[in-house]
Amino acid sequence: MNVLYFAWVRERIGVPREDVETSAETVRDLVAELAGREERYALAFSDLDALRVAVDQELADFDAPLVGVREVAFFPPMTGG
């Protein structure tokens, strides 16, 4: 699964994207898996209220299922306009 990071999430984790082998069933499971990897991930995912997630390029919530999903992205609240 392709996992993308944007803005300060990208900066904390240190890469803009990576391929992740996972059997996580939901976004929340994936977050737990990643946060368990290394300190930089734990730091990036320490406050889920400060994060937003997109599943296959659609905004989703952390309970979204990951069955058949190819791309998950994590980022802070958007600041367009």
């Binding site: 944007f6 803005a7 992205a73 980022f75 802070p76 609240p77 958007m78 600041t79 367009g80 306009g81």
Partner: protein, 147 residues
């Protein structure tokens, strides 16, 4: 409807004039333009705008389609830039054409509210003291609730 995502500057005058020419059966045209503010009290060197290629275009298009349907717009234009912008440069613009002025105003305000909080852009301000991500404001999220 036209949705444009680009790094290059755009020409507000030319875009406004072209948009107005397109909708002669519409009585009301509203434009909104966002500019990188040049704060007097601190030296902003640049604003960097990051985005999510692929999702950004889809989100912009979806928001423009929603606005067009909800406010019976005869036409809508959304231009949003990314990359490094200097103070005074234009970041983005929207334009709406409608039969009546309230729809044109509401359509433009709706586009702005959703582009602000639902299109995957992130702004970072570069000053002499370093770089800082612009935080989303709660009022921006609250603004969505009125629609």
């Amino acid at each position: 409807m036209r949705v444009v995502l680009q790094e290059a500057p755009f020409d507000l005058g030319a875009e406004s004039a072209a948009f107005a020419r397109g909708g002669r059966d519409m009585g009301a045209i509203v434009t909104f333009t966002g500019v990188v503010r040049d704060f007097p009290d601190r030296s902003l060197e640049a604003m960097e705008i990051e985005h999510y290629p692929g999702m950004t275009e889809a989100a912009m298009t979806g928001i423009a389609q929603e606005a067009t349907a909800r406010f019976s717009l005869g036409d809508a234009l959304v231009i949003h830039r990314y990359g490094r912008l200097r103070p005074g440069e234009m970041i983005m613009m929207v334009a709406t054409a409608a039969a009546h002025r309230q729809d044109a105003f509401d359509g433009a305000a709706f586009l702005m509210d959703f582009l602000k909080s639902r299109a995957p852009f992130w702004k970072r301000e570069i000053t002499a003291d370093g770089a800082e991500w612009v935080a989303a404001r709660e009022t921006d999220e609250d603004a969505l609730a009125r629609w």
